[in-house]
């Protein structure tokens, strides 16, 4: 009896590992773009590096200007606790290519997948509606200051290294682009009622444009088709990492990876992580069964041992 039980238990323990191996016990669907999702298109062939968007972003998001460690004003050199949008330069190729970096608003964001209590969540799809959040599924990734514990797992998870932390603050926040949803005008219709990114508004070359994801994706494809000699053939973000709501066009001959965009599979990291992690749990059955089995076995073992001790040394 006891041996068979033991074997059963061993089997259960091994089964956990085995399901992890298989990793496909639970179907975790890929996330499709929301019908109302909004996004941006950044066309690196149009950007002239004027940084109007960087300045305007700071202004409308009320972010302080950067300072060097000794207190002098300085231009930010990367996204950071006071910079949600940055223009960087890639010097390779025929001439300098500019790269705009801000939150990608992934279709299936890693940061949302890993956030413990859904502080980072897609608008209207979180654990709760935070203050000022509208019940519109725009796909914008928001940060709820009251649910964030500052664990910074989002920074580990984000392949684009977008979420930033206020390191020098006793009460720090996670800082990242929210597509200027606070500038939305509910009186307007369409995407402008949802968000109104200042960067798109001030860009002198319309290098970055805002609209529904479907529209900007169509526009991106139109541009590539119209001028194949000008653009790299791929629209970054259409499928990369499960797809993003901010899309990128690069000049022909310039790799997206050279512009700092990671090489990602079409499946999102969240999908992999959740599939593998959830698989052994079988919707929570495994731990409960394991617990029940263990409690039973341990109780039996203990009784037997006590009986043996009782026989040997008398009552304790």
């Amino acid at each position: 009896m006891a041996i068979s039980r033991r074997d059963l238990l061993k089997g259960a323990a091994v089964a956990g590992a085995a399901t992890a191996l298989a990793g496909r016990a639970e179907a975790r669907e890929a996330v499709a773009p929301l019908p109302e999702s909004v996004g941006m298109l950044f066309d690196a062939t149009r950007c002239v590096g004027c940084r109007a968007c960087v300045t305007k972003c700071k202004e409308v998001n009320e972010l302080p200007y950067d300072r060097t460690p000794d207190g002098q004003y300085d231009a930010p050199n990367d996204l950071n606790g006071t910079t949600k949008n940055i223009i960087k330069a890639y010097a390779g190729g025929e001439q300098q290519t500019y790269m705009k970096q801000q939150c990608m608003h992934c279709l299936d964001p890693s940061c949302v997948s890993v956030c413990m209590m859904g502080a980072l969540h897609k608008e209207a799809q979180g654990k709760r509606l935070m203050k000022g959040e509208r019940p519109i599924a725009t796909g914008i990734v928001l940060w709820d200051k009251d649910l964030c514990v500052g664990c910074r797992y989002c920074q580990i998870g984000c392949a684009f290294n977008v979420p930033k932390f206020e390191w020098d603050d006793a009460f720090p926040k996670i800082v990242k682009c929210e597509l200027c949803r606070h500038r939305a005008d509910p009186k307007k219709e369409g995407p402008l009622a949802v968000a109104n990114p200042a960067c798109c508004e001030v860009c002198p070359r319309q290098a970055v444009v805002y609209g529904k994801r479907a529209d900007v994706l169509a526009e991106a494809k139109r541009r590539v088709a119209a001028e194949p000699e000008r653009y790299a053939a791929k629209v970054f973000g259409e499928h990369d990492g499960g797809g993003t709501q901010v899309l990128y066009l690069a000049p022909k001959g310039v790799e997206f990876s050279a512009l700092g965009l990671p090489v990602l599979p079409e499946r999102s990291s969240a999908e992999l992580s959740e599939k593998v992690s959830h698989a052994p749990y079988l919707h929570g059955i495994t731990p409960i069964a394991l617990y029940a089995g263990l409690a039973f076995v341990i109780k039996r073992n203990k009784k037997k041992e006590e009986a043996a001790e009782h026989g040997r040394e008398g009552k304790r």
């Binding site: 149009r46 002239v48 590096g49 004027c50 968007c53 300045t55 930010p76 223009i87 890639y90 002198p204």
Partner: protein
Amino acid sequence: MNEMGSDVFGLETKGFSRRDFIKVCTTAAAAVGLPAWAGEKMAENVAKGRKPSVIWLHFQECTGCTESLLRTSHPDVAALILDLISVDYHETLFAAAGRQIEEALEKALHENEGKFVLVVEGAIPEKDGGIYCQVGGKKAIDTLHAVAAKAGAIIAIGSCASWGGVPSAAPNPTGATGVPQLLKGKTVVTLPGCPANPYNLLGTVLQFATFGTLPALDDLGRPKFAYGRVIHEDCQRRPHFDAGRFAQSFGDEGHRNGWCLYKLGCKGPQTHANCSLLDFCEVPGAWPVAIGHPCVGCTEQGIGFNVPIYTNLPIEKPTAPMAYPAVHPDHNVLGRGNGAIAIGVGSAIAGAVVGAGVMATRKLSSETEKDQGKE
């Protein structure tokens, strides 16, 4: 003061001093990027009567380049220019007309053959055998070839002469063409601009007269001292561009505050000229960007009179006064604060932990061996 003798236009009557004269020459020298002593040398040569002979041909043009040359405010212009150079043929400036003036041309050609400077103002029509521009019954294209063959140096002033300019704008009914396109194989200094900055001409001519050389030219024949950089690079509104402050429309807050005009269609980023550095006719602020209008790109072939004035262009040669961050910028985090100490202490502790483990194991195992040996 030693008043300088002059036979033309009575400089003495205007009380023009030698000192002023040297100043003008020095300014002209500086414009071509020559040192001050070159200006003095120019002045000396002029004083000795070795003035460069200039033949000035007018073709399809508005005479704007000549007009601007006559309007340099300081030094007292026309007089000076006409004193510095010996204009032996100039249809606008000459009092004579008709046969008389054509004879003067012939005379100048023979007297200074191979030495004179030919300045061409205006485009030359090529269509239908060049019949659309004739002076004294001679077709412009024939005159050009005839004069150019004997010239010591050829300068095309203004955009029309340099590459066609206004007359060549689409649909270009006369087939207007620039001088370099017609005189293939010859060195033609082009000074595009509508009109060209007179100082660029003055400097070039004086350098040739003084040293017999021409300034360094780019592949379009433009002197590099004036056309080596685009207007955007030295623009007075550049700080606004770098800070992302753009006028969105004429008369808006940004426009009134003197912000960058790029978004209004400024061609400065692709236009090669020194407008932003060398005041036009020495009048400060007398150029489009300074008065609140985007640069129209008048010097640049393919842009001026071709691209609509308010069309926005990409930026050529996007050099910036400040560096842009790299795609993966260096954050230099370990360099700050107690980096070296932290590394030292951290490594020491890690080492100590491992070392303690090793020592304890060794000691313990040898002790145990001893004990076991005893037993």
